[in-house]
């Protein structure tokens, strides 16, 4: 069956090819699913079991997308024709039934059948499998790398957070031998919203007001178990159930340290730290503490606040006080504003509120004082600093009061600024009724007036023209007072420089104003510049605030240049010089102030000497009795400190105790610990006056005596 044979070969090739495609597709699916599940595992913490469904789905998708189903025998023959010239482009003849072929075709078919049996398996057949295999291998490598990287970077932080949340860091502790097992149950108070926790460690770090329960199982014959707080208070454990189980409950409010006494034997010292609840922290981001809203600007202020607390904020309010009126008729009105957010125990709230001063009834000349009050869920209240927003009174600015009397330094110019404001306001009022061109022309004219005004004020500052730095040309039309004929003396460098330099007085120093006055004048000029800019760009409305500010500054300046002298009506009798210091003072007894003595801080001195004694102990094994006294004083001082800060001073306290119990066997470590604690207790000294040392009869003394006979 030659015909069958050729057909069979092609069929076999096709199915092989399809098989390869299928295997490739499977690998692709696995590649994709491996990558996907690794990603999910790292970032979303989804378990590795997700691999199976993902793989199934992705294989299905690939199977559905891939073209290998459509691979037909025709594809194979055309591939063979292209790659194997010995088939003479006629392998498709093998697929056709023999009876449909012409003679020539049959001859050719026979020839091809022979050839097709001889051709090797095409290499391209394995290509999809190879590709998929490569992709799969690289995906596996990538996944492995990602997992190790994650273990490296993410694990640390993950482990840390979990530890800090659940249990405090492990401290190596000495457990008394009489205890077989123990546990400490800490129930934090409600406001912390923290769960109960147990720990197998005596060192405690608990929230303020926590309920702590010690459960101790002893071994051997022990009749009492006590807890000794801060070396003072002693509490008995209760037997719980079994004979050797003991229990004690206590609410912890303050830091300190404690010991467990088992039938008279004390344990090591354990720390008892209390984490106190902090009041809420309020931070006002905007506005500034002192804000002035210029007339012409919208009377609104955007308040932005950040409130943070360690456990939760339950309430926050703005307490605002409106102050209106002047002089004796100032009235205050307080009102409470709320924030547009709900406070239900968040730890961090950032919010903003628009304070509309106009709707609160503030007018020109009024001021608003406000602060923010916040309460946390432990009932602690905190409040921010006071903030001030003021609205200047335009009416007062424009009034002529104060102009009629007193020194009138710049009356003409001053009126001009007022005039410009009035004109601008008039222009703005008429804006709707006049054409745009007219408006622009008038605005520009006002700008020119503003410029002229600015130039006039510039003169007060010694500015010549525009405050530009253009120099003079040689023929400027003025000379600077030096005579052209006068030759400078030989070697007089300064005069030679003067000859070629164009010297002016410094514009800054050319006037008679105080520096503060000058600074304010400059500020006025800046405002005028801005006003002119707005007027000339036809935005007259925006020029108004600058004009008002310039006017306000001008008025300030004017007020400053006045001196106020109040009227006096008392007439003093003239002094008689001859009678001065002649009174009879006999009966006047000088004040008798009793002598005062301060006790030298004996304790501090003892501590200072204790440091010295410890230093001595590094070299020697024995101590004099007074140094032992000093060491006892040091131990007392450290134990007092340890009550407040057990975490810092407790190790030093136990070190000090071992040193006192056996000074001869004190280790350097213990000595250093104790010295370190003492260093912290003795506060750093200031420099104090003292006598210098000298020895009578020394060489310098001899010299002194010889020189001063």
């Amino acid at each position: 069956m030659p015909e069958q044979n050729g057909h069979h070969i092609i069929d076999k090739l096709r199915s092989k090819w399809q098989g390869n495609y299928l295997a490739g597709a499977l690998l692709w699916g696995l590649t994709l699913s491996a990558l996907l599940s690794t990603l999910l595992n790292i970032f979303a913490n989804i378990s590795w079991w997700s691999l199976a469904p993902i793989a199934a789905v992705s294989v299905a998708i690939v199977y559905w997308l891939r073209p290998f189903k459509r691979l037909s025998n025709e594809h194979i023959t055309s591939f063979l024709n292209r790659n194997y010239p010995q088939l003479e482009e006629s392998s498709q003849l093998l697929l056709l039934p023999a009876d449909s072929l012409s003679l020539l075709q049959q001859l050719q078919k026979q020839k091809v059948e022979k050839a097709i049996g001889a051709i090797p398996a095409p290499k391209d057949m394995l290509a999809p499998l190879k590709k998929a295999g490569l992709a799969f291998a690289s995906a596996l490598v990538v996944c492995a790398m990602a997992i190790t990287a994650q273990a490296h970077f993410f694990n640390n932080t993950g482990a840390d957070t979990s530890v800090s949340i659940s249990t405090p860091e492990k401290i190596k502790e000495i457990i008394p031998p009489g205890i077989s097992t123990f546990s400490v149950l800490v129930s934090p108070p409600a406001y912390t919203k923290m769960p109960k926790r147990t720990q197998e460690q005596f060192s405690l770090k608990v929230e303020d007001g926590s309920q702590v329960r010690w459960l101790i199982k002893t071994k051997g014959d022990i009749d009492t178990v006590r807890l000794r707080f801060n070396n003072k208070e002693s509490v008995l454990f209760k037997r719980a159930g079994d004979n050797d189980e003991w229990q004690l409950d206590r609410t912890i409010k303050e830091s300190g340290f404690y010991q467990i006494e088992l039938g008279g034997n004390s344990s090591a010292l354990y720390t008892l730290e209390v984490i106190h609840d902090q009041p809420a922290n309020i931070r006002i981001i905007s506005p500034q503490q002192y804000t002035t809203i210029e007339p012409g600007r919208k009377p609104v202020s955007n308040l932005r606040v950040q409130i943070t607390d360690d456990y939760g904020i339950i309430n926050a309010q703005i307490i605002a006080t409106k102050a209106s009126g002047k002089g004796e008729s100032v009235s205050f009105k307080e009102q409470q504003l709320s924030f547009p957010v709900q406070f239900n125990g968040q730890k961090n709230v950032e919010t903003s509120k628009l304070i509309d001063l106009a709707s609160m009834g503030l007018q020109g000349g009024d001021e608003l004082y406000f602060y923010i009050k916040a309460a946390d869920n432990h009932g602690q209240e905190s409040r921010s600093d006071m903030y001030f927003i003021s609205l200047p009174d335009t009416a007062e600015l424009l009034s002529m009061s104060g102009m009629e009397s007193g020194v009138d330094q710049f009356p003409e110019y001053f009126r001009s600024q007022r005039q410009i404001i009035m004109d601008t306001e008039k222009l703005l009022k008429e804006q709707s009724s006049i054409s745009k061109d007219t408006f622009n022309v008038r605005s520009n004219q006002l700008g020119i007036e503003q410029k002229l005004l600015r130039l006039r004020y510039g003169k007060f500052l010694g500015e010549e023209n525009e405050s530009g730095g253009e120099g003079h040309s040689p023929d400027d039309g003025h000379d600077h007072g030096h005579d052209a004929g006068e030759e400078p003396a030989y070697g007089d460098v300064q005069s030679m420089i003067d000859q070629y330099a164009h010297k002016h007085d410094n514009a800054e120093d050319a006037t008679f104003f105080e520096p503060a006055q000058k600074a304010q004048l400059k500020a006025i000029l800046t405002e005028m510049w801005n006003s002119e800019l707005k007027l000339r760009t036809y935005i007259a409305a925006e020029a108004l605030p600058y004009q008002y500010k310039a006017l306000r500054l001008l008025k300030d300046l004017q007020q400053k240049s006045r001196a106020y002298v109040s009227k006096t009506s008392i007439k003093m009798p003239p002094l008689k010089p001859e009678k001065r210091l002649t009174a009879n003072l006999e009966k006047i007894v000088p004040p008798n102030i009793p002598a005062k003595q301060t006790a030298e801080d004996k304790r501090l001195d003892q501590l200072r000497n204790a440091v010295k004694a410890l230093e001595l102990l590094k070299q020697q094994k024995q101590l004099p009795i007074e140094d032992q006294q000093n060491l006892l004083a040091a131990e007392r001082a450290i134990s007092e400190k340890a009550i407040a800060q057990p975490g810092i001073f407790l190790p030093a306290l136990s070190a000090a105790r071992t040193i006192i119990s056996s000074p001869a066997s004190a280790t350097k470590q213990d000595i250093l610990l104790t010295q370190k604690a003492l260093q912290q207790i003795i506060k750093t000294d200031r420099q104090l006056p003292q006598k210098s040392n000298s020895r009578p009869g020394s060489l310098s003394d001899h010299y002194f005596k010889k020189l001063n006979p």
């Binding site: 301060t598 000497n609 230093e615 010295q675 200031r686 420099q687 104090l688 006056p689 000298s694 020895r695």
Partner: protein
């Protein structure tokens, strides 16, 4: 008569006798030859006893130059490899380098074989240089690269409580990493500085001790958490010796009120006298027994170490009181005068010339003085005047324009200080207690009557080391030589010529650590171990060696040029000549028979 002369006379006689015998001989053939040979034989015989020397230019001396390799020597140039190498350091010894236990003994034994010595490495001790000079051995020195670590350091060996302990030095860092220097003491790190990589850097560390007694501070150098070295800084911290102070004011004022309170709080004995009206005084006694201050006289002033008074109060003193103050100042009492105008009223402030300063725009002046914090303390300007600088007054406090605010002068054995800063209490009000303490500590410590001490102790070198000589100097007025008691026996002292109350003793400390020396009072000295401060010690030794080598090369340069060696003719030559001459004479006689 010298040995040579006897030999010459004897051999001349022998020669004459031999010549006479030859002439008298019957067989006169070869007479001339025989006579010549006899002469040769006698001369040779004589020269066997008389050494014949001649001078010759010594060759390059290669056989006599040796190389001394000491610890820390680097690789040497090839030109030196042909010389003999010796070392005193067992670690450097090898097949080519001979180990000698002691240089002095070696040189003494081989002095003739050595003309010059070349030293490499850290070098040799001073006494060994002296010995080389004695033996006239020229020496040259090749210093190694400077050591790594703290190559120089200094700090006050004793300070008083409350003052700054400042440690300064140079760190030589040749590693590619930066090094952190940490000053630590009493289990606490007190100050630190980073030394950049590959640099030699000057460092300055400081702390303010608040305790008493002998303390061992440590200077650690740390490179990436490894401690490279830990050096010891022994410091003695003295308790404060408090002067007794009398304050006299023409009127009650803030300045004296705050000063009195501050002194009272710090336990200083203070008496204050303020004039409240004509002949009416307010008197305060703080930490001191009450006595009458109405009359200022010598007996009152003798109880005080320092008088602080304003210029008016001094001017108002009666003539006798002023004289008493003057006498006491001449005897050593200190006087601080507070002035508040540019006019000197009292006789005490007159030597200082005050001048009004031109008005300044600023309202504060920032003061600076020795020991003040780096942040300059500001003081309200008030009346702006200053003390004219003059060569006899010590400037104590100046402002930013270098105008003198406070200055001191000697007056007899005492000191007079003029202070124009009248508003220092503003520092107390503004909480700048450090500035206030520092300012008044300076003035009071400068002025106060010195504390009398019976003995003074000094020692050299600065680093007393175990098993090395330390020279102790005791200053004490005493008729009999004082005896110093140490932990390991008594030391007897020598009186220093010209300085009758200075006594010295040689001390060889046996144990390291704090040692107590006692005479009528005690002194503490820290004895270092041999291994302490290695880099600093090596640097010091290298510098000493460089100095000695320089000194030697400048003196031996000319000597080297005329240097010739005296060589003696080998004796065996004469012996051979004698033998040949005698043999010939004997043979000739045999042959003639």
């Amino acid at each position: 008569m010298k040995q040579e002369h006897i030999v010459i006379i004897l051999s001349t006689l022998l020669l004459l006798f031999l010549i006479w015998k030859e002439i008298k001989r019957l067989n006169r053939s070869r007479l001339a030859l025989r006579i010549i040979l006899s002469v040769i034989a006698v001369i040779s015989l004589a020269l066997l006893f008389i050494p014949v020397t001649f001078t010759a230019k010594s060759a390059d001396g290669s056989s006599k130059k040796i190389i001394l390799v000491t610890a820390g020597a680097g690789s040497e140039p090839d030109s030196l490899s042909r010389y003999k190498h010796i070392t005193t350091d067992l670690r450097n010894s090898s097949a080519n380098v001979e180990f000698i236990p002691d240089l002095s003994i070696y040189i003494a034994g081989h002095a003739n074989d050595i003309s010059s010595i070349h030293i490499t490495g850290t070098g040799i001790a001073e006494h060994e240089w002296e010995m080389l000079n004695e033996y006239k051995i020229s020496a040259s020195y090749d210093p190694p690269v400077s050591p790594t670590g703290i190559v120089q350091a200094d700090w006050p060996r004793s300070i008083s409580r409350g003052s700054q302990l400042q440690v300064q030095g140079i760190y030589n860092n040749r590693s590619g990493d930066q090094v952190k220097l940490v000053l630590s003491g009493l289990g606490t790190s007190l100050d630190s500085v980073i030394i950049g990589k590959d640099s030699s850097q000057v460092f300055s560390l400081s702390c303010q001790p608040a305790h008493n007694g002998n303390t061992l501070y440590e200077l650690h150098s740390v490179r990436s958490d490894h401690i490279l070295s830990a050096e010891k800084l022994p410091v003695i911290i003295h308790p404060v010796v408090k002067p007794r102070i009398l304050l006299i004011n023409s009127s009650p004022g803030f300045e004296s009120k705050f000063l009195g309170t501050w002194l009272y709080e710090n336990n200083y004995p203070v008496a204050i006298k303020n004039t409240v009206s004509r002949d009416k005084y307010e008197q305060q006694f703080l930490n001191i027994k009450a006595t009458s201050l109405t009359a200022v006289n010598s007996t009152l002033l003798e109880n005080f170490d320092l008088l602080i008074a304003d210029d008016n109060a001094l001017a108002e003193l009666s003539a006798s009181a002023a004289a008493a103050v003057k006498l006491q100042v001449a005897k050593g009492m200190g006087l601080i005068i507070e002035v508040d105008s540019s006019r000197s009223i009292s006789a005490f402030s007159r030597p200082f010339i005050l001048r009004k300063q031109s008005a300044q725009q600023t309202t504060t002046r920032s003061l600076s003085w020795a020991g003040a914090a780096s942040r300059k303390p500001q003081l309200a300007a008030g009346d702006w005047f200053a003390i004219q600088p003059d060569p006899f007054a010590q400037q104590l406090v100046t402002d930013e324009h270098q105008a003198v605010i406070a200055a001191g002068r000697l007056s007899g054995a005492g000191k007079v200080i003029l202070n124009t800063a009248g508003t220092t209490y503003s520092w107390v009000l503004s909480g700048a207690m450090d500035s206030y303490s520092s300012f008044w500590s300076l003035l009071i410590s400068k002025a106060a009557r010195p504390h009398k001490k019976e003995t003074g102790w000094r020692y050299s070198p600065a680093f007393p080391t175990v098993d090395q000589q330390t020279i102790l100097t005791l200053e004490k007025t005493s008729v009999a030589p004082p005896v110093i008691k140490t932990g390991s026996g008594d030391l007897y002292t020598d009186q220093t010529p010209y300085l009758p109350d200075t006594w010295t003793a040689n001390w060889w400390p046996a144990t390291p650590g704090w040692q107590t020396l006692s005479n009528t009072d005690t002194a503490s000295i820290y004895v270092f171990e041999e291994t302490d401060w290695p880099a600093a010690k090596r640097t010091a030794l290298i510098n000493t060696n460089i100095m000695y080598a320089e000194k030697q090369s400048s003196t031996t340069d000319t000597k080297n040029k005329v240097m010739t060696a005296t060589k003696s003719v080998p004796v065996w030559l004469f012996y051979a000549a004698l033998l040949i001459a005698c043999s010939f004479l004997w043979w000739e006689r045999k042959a003639a028979e």
